[in-house]
C-alpha cells in the first residue's frame, strides 16, 4: 500500500458509531488531556480502529489452535478470540450494560462515573460476551499505550505529541557523537519513520508484523 494517506480523522473502518463513541470516551479517560496531550490528541481511538480492522485484529502472531482451557495466569492469554472478536464481543456486552444503567450513553457520563466504570472493568472478571472484563481492559489499555507512544505511521501518536512530551527522538539513528556528552539536553525535534522530509507523516493503513513466507 506504500505511503498512501490513511483514513481521515474520525472515520472508522472497524468500529460502528456506538463502539467508536465508547472507545473514544474510554481512552480519553485512560490518558486524559490536560496541560499535557492525551489519547484524543494522539489519535489513539483511530489507531485502535486501524489495528483491529487489520492483520493484528484478525489474529496475526496469535496461536489459535485448540483445545481451550483457562490455564493459570503464568500461562498468559488463553481465550479463542482474535483481538477483533474480543473487542466486538466485549463492546456489545458493555453497550447492553450501559443501556441497563439508564444514565444515557457512556460518552455523556461525568468523568468520575466513567472512571468508576473503567475501574470496575479493570478490577473485575464480569463476563462480557465470553471475555472477562479485566482481560478486555488489559487489551484496551495495551492498545491505548501503543497508540499513544508508537510511531505516527500507524495513525496514533499524531503530531508525535507523546514523543515531544517525554523527549523521545523517534526513528533518529545516530547518537555516536552525543553518547559521551553525559546529561546533555537533546532538543532536536522527533522524527517518524514515515517522515516525508517536509515535516509530514504519511499514514500507513496496515503494516503486517511479518510478510508471508516467500521460500526460495
Amino acid at each position: 500500500m506504500g505511503s498512501q494517506p490513511g483514513p481521515a480523522n474520525g472515520q472508522m473502518r472497524f468500529f460502528n458509531p456506538g463502539e467508536a463513541a465508547f472507545v473514544r470516551a474510554a481512552v480519553a479517560r485512560l490518558i486524559p488531556s490536560d496541560e499535557l496531550p492525551g489519547a484524543i490528541e494522539a489519535g489513539v481511538d483511530q489507531f485502535i480502529d486501524i489495528q483491529l480492522g487489520g492483520a493484528w485484529g484478525a489474529g496475526e502472531r496469535l496461536f489459535r489452535g485448540g483445545p481451550w482451557h483457562p490455564g493459570s495466569p503464568s500461562q498468559g492469554y488463553q481465550l479463542p478470540f482474535t483481538p477483533a472478536e474480543l473487542f466486538r464481543n466485549a463492546l456489545r456486552a458493555i453497550a447492553s450494560d450501559v443501556e441497563l444503567k439508564g444514565k444515557g450513553p457512556f460518552e455523556h457520563w461525568h468523568a468520575k462515573d466513567q472512571d468508576a466504570y473503567l475501574t470496575e472493568l479493570q478490577k473485575g472478571t464480569r463476563d462480557l460476551g465470553g471475555v472477562p472484563s479485566n482481560v478486555f481492559f488489559e487489551s484496551l489499555w495495551g492498545l491505548t499505550v501503543e497508540g499513544f507512544l508508537c510511531d505516527p505511521v500507524y495513525g496514533g501518536n499524531r503530531g508525535m505529541v507523546s514523543w515531544k512530551m517525554i523527549g523521545f527522538p523517534g526513528a533518529y539513528a545516530n547518537y555516536y557523537h552525543l553518547i559521551d556528552q553525559h546529561g546533555i539536553a537533546f532538543t532536536r525535534a522527533p522524527m517518524s519513520l514515515a517522515d516525508n522530509g517536509r515535516g509530514e507523516v504519511m499514514l500507513h493503513p496496515d503494516i503486517p508484523a511479518q510478510p508471508m513466507a516467500k521460500g526460495q
Binding site: Q122, G170, A173, N174
Partner: protein, 589 residues
C-alpha cells in the same frame, strides 16, 4: 510423496549463527554442504535498513523477526501436575527465525563462561562439600575446561570483532578489565565502546563500594573492523534499536555481517530457505543418520540424504528435533532416566530501578545493545557462597539497551495504573530513570524439562515442544541476595528513589525476561546424563552433531552467545581434524 534429492556430504538444520559457522568450516574442509533454513533470506541491505527498521511496534511489540508462533507454538506449564497450554503470543523469550537466526536480533553481549561454570559440580563439591547444593538440582560438569575453550573463544571473538577490555592476559591481571576472568591469550579485537551516562554513574558507585567495574564486552563495535574472513564491520551509532532488530549500520556482529557472504560465495554451499525440517532420518538400527526430511515453502516434501547432519537450530528446536526423530531417550522426571529434554534452564533476571530529579538527563534512547558497565564480583563462584546457601550468581550492571517508549516508560511505585497520574509520571520520569540489570544463572533442576506435547500440533501436524519450568528455590535465594547487593550500589548512584525487583515465583511466560533458553541436549562425559559428548557429537548417532545453547548442562550468569560460538568452533575442529579422517565416535563409550 517425498522427492529424494541428490546426496550431499553435510546437511545443516538451521542457518543461523551455528549453521553459518559450521557451513564455513566444513566447506573450507572441502565438503559439499546444504543449508536448510525454515525462514526467509534476509540481509543488511535491503532488509534491515532505516528508517523502516526503527519501528518499535512492528519489531519489538509484534515480534516481526521471531519464529512464527501461529505455525510453531510451544506449550508451557509451571509443573508437571498442570496441563501445558500454548504460549499464544511470545513474551518471555523470543526464538528467532530466518537466515542468520537469533544472532540477527541479539544484543551483542559477548561474555566468556568461567572454569567455575564448566566444572561447576566438581568445584562446588570441592569447596563447599557434597551436601551443599539443594537436592533437586542436577548441576553437572560440561566435560570441557576454560583452558580448552580459550582458543575457540578467542577465534570467535575475533570473528565478531568484540569490543572490550581484557582483565587477564596469559595470567597477568590487566587494569580496567574483568579481574575475575580466566586467562585469555590476547586483548579484545577492538577497544570498549563509549560509556553512557548511567553506566558511568554505576561504575563510580560500584568502585566506591569496593567492586570491580569493567566495560561490557560488546559485539556492537566501537570502531571499524576487518575480521579474519575479510568482512568489514562499522562503528556502532548507538541508535537504540538493537535487540529485536537487524542492524542497519553493519555495526552489530551477525552471520550477515561477519561470515555469511563468504559462505554464500562458496560453490560448495547450497542454501535453501523456507525449508522446514520435519525429522532427521535414521538407519533401521537407529545408529546412523541418513539425512533429513523437509517441507519447502510451497508444501512439497523432500528427503535430503547426507553423510553428516549438523543440528544447529534455536536451542529449544534442537531438543524438539531429537524428540521428533526418535534419537536418544526422552527424559522422565519421575524416574530421572532419559536425557533428551533433561536440564532445561533459563536465566534468573531481576532489576533495580533508580529515579532521578529532572536535572539529570539519562537520555536512554542513546544506547547500543551491549553498551554499559558491569561487575563480575557476584558471578559464578567469584564470591564465597558458604554463608548464603545457594550456588550460582549474577553479573550486575547498567546495561540499558534502549529508550523505546512503548517498552520503556518507567514510573515509581504508587503511580496510578492509568489516567492523568500515569501520564504525568511517564512524562516526569522517562528521561530521568535508570534500571540496573541483575543477570543471574539458572540451575538445572529435576522437575524442569522439555518434552513433546501430547495434545497440540504444529502446522505440519507434528507435536509441539512442551516446557515445564519454574525457578528452583536455589535461584530465588540467589536473586534475593543479588538484588539486595544491587540495591546498595543503586543507593550510591545519587537518585531520589530506589526500587527493588527481585525475581519471584511463579515463572510466567507473559513477561519478557531473556531469550536464553538452555539445556535439553546437554553435553558431558557421561552418556547417562548427557545427550552429546564434549565435542557435541550425539552419543547415539555419531554422524549427528547437535550445537547450541541446548548443550549447556545449566546456565551460567553470563549471556550465552560467546559460549555457543566457541563450542561450535571447537566441534568444527574436532570434525575436521578427527572425524573426517575416521568417522565414528570421538569419545569411546
Amino acid at each position: 510423496m517425498a522427492t529424494t534429492l541428490p546426496a550431499t556430504d553435510v546437511v545443516l538444520v538451521g542457518v543461523g549463527l551455528v549453521g553459518t559457522m559450521m557451513g564455513r568450516e566444513l566447506t573450507r574442509a572441502g565438503l559439499k554442504v546444504v543449508g536448510l533454513e525454515r525462514g526467509q533470506p534476509q540481509f543488511t541491505v535491503p532488509d534491515f535498513q532505516g528508517p523502516r527498521m526503527h519501528d518499535e511496534l512492528r519489531y519489538s511489540i509484534r515480534k516481526a523477526l521471531m519464529q512464527d508462533n501461529t505455525r510453531e507454538p510451544i506449550t508451557f506449564r509451571n509443573r508437571s501436575s498442570e496441563t501445558a497450554l500454548p504460549i499464544r503470543r511470545w513474551e518471555s523469550f523470543l526464538p528467532g527465525t530466518g537466515l542468520g537466526g537469533a544472532a540477527v536480533h541479539w544484543n551483542g553481549q559477548t561474555y566468556r563462561f568461567q572454569e567455575s561454570d564448566f566444572r561447576m559440580r566438581t568445584l562446588t563439591e570441592q569447596r563447599y562439600g557434597k551436601k551443599f547444593m539443594d537436592a533437586d538440582l542436577q548441576v553437572q560438569d560440561w566435560g570441557v575446561t576454560a583452558a580448552e575453550m580459550e582458543k575457540h573463544y578467542d577465534r570467535f571473538e575475533y570473528l565478531l570483532g568484540v569490543s572490550g577490555k581484557a582483565g587477564n592476559i596469559g595470567g597477568r591481571k590487566v587494569a580496567g578489565g574483568n579481574p575475575f576472568e580466566d586467562p585469555r591469550a590476547r586483548e579484545y579485537p577492538t577497544p570498549p565502546m563509549k560509556e553512557p551516562y548511567g553506566s558511568a554513574m554505576f561504575r563510580k558507585a560500584a568502585a566506591s563500594l569496593g567492586y570491580h567495574p569493567f566495560p561490557q564486552p560488546s559485539a556492537n563495535l566501537s570502531q571499524n573492523y576487518r575480521n579474519p574472513e575479510g568482512m568489514e564491520l562499522r562503528t556502532c551509532m548507538f541508535c537504540g534499536f538493537c535487540e529485536r532488530y537487524g542492524c542497519e549500520h553493519y555495526a552489530k556482529a551477525s552471520p550477515q555481517t561477519v561470515l555469511l557472504p563468504v559462505l554464500m560465495n562458496d560453490q560448495r554451499f547450497t542454501l535453501r530457505t523456507g525449508a522446514q525440517v520435519l525429522r532427521i532420518n535414521l538407519s533401521p538400527d537407529k545408529k546412523h543418520a541418513t539425512g533429513v526430511t523437509y517441507v519447502d515453502a510451497a508444501g512439497s516434501e523432500f528427503v535430503q540424504p547426507a553423510s553428516l547432519v549438523i543440528l544447529g537450530s534455536f536451542a529449544l528446536n534442537n531438543v524438539r528435533m531429537l524428540l521428533l526423530s526418535g534419537i536418544g531417550t526422552p527424559y522422565d522426571p519421575q524416574s530421572g532416566k532419559g536425557t533428551v529434554g533433561r536440564n532445561y534452564a533459563y536465566q534468573t533476571t531481576s532489576a533495580v530501578q533508580i529515579f532521578y530529579n529532572e536535572k539529570i538527563n539519562i537520555n536512554p534512547f542513546m544506547r547500543s545493545g551491549a553498551s554499559g558497565t558491569v561487575i563480575a564480583d557476584f558471578v559464578s563462584d567469584n564470591f564465597d557462597h558458604g554463608p548464603h546457601k545457594f550456588v550460582g550468581g549474577a553479573y550486575v550492571g547498567e546495561v540499558m539497551s534502549h529508550g523505546r517508549p512503548i517498552e520503556f516508560h518507567p514510573t515509581p511505585p504508587g503511580t496510578p495504573a492509568w489516567g492523568a497520574g500515569w501520564k504525568h509520571a511517564v512524562a516526569r520520569y522517562y528521561n530521568h530513570a535508570i534500571a540496573l540489570n541483575i543477570h543471574g544463572s539458572s540451575m538445572a533442576a529435576r522437575q524442569n524439562y522439555l518434552d513433546l506435547d501430547p495434545t497440540y500440533k504444529d502446522a505440519w501436524g507434528q507435536p509441539v515442544l512442551r516446557m515445564t519450568f519454574d525457578f528452583p528455590d536455589n535461584d530465588i535465594r540467589m536473586s534475593k541476595y543479588l538484588t539486595e547487593r544491587t540495591m546498595a550500589i543503586a543507593r550510591a548512584m545519587g537518585g531520589e528513589q530506589v526500587v527493588p525487583g527481585a525475581r519471584q515465583r511463579p515463572y510466567t511466560v507473559t513477561q519478557y525476561q531473556t531469550t536464553h533458553t538452555t539445556g535439553g541436549t546437554v553435553m558431558g562425559s557421561d552418556p547417562s546424563n548427557s545427550v552429546v559428548n564434549p565435542f557435541l557429537q550425539s552419543w547415539n548417532v555419531p554422524n549427528l552433531f547437535v550445537i547450541g545453547a541446548s548443550n549447556f548442562p545449566q546456565n551460567a550468569s553470563y549471556n550465552p552467545t560467546d559460549t555457543v560460538g566457541a563450542l561450535a568452533y571447537r566441534a568444527s575442529e574436532a570434525i575436521v581434524e578427527r572425524y573426517l579422517k575416521n568417522a565414528g565416535p570421538l569419545v569411546a563409550t
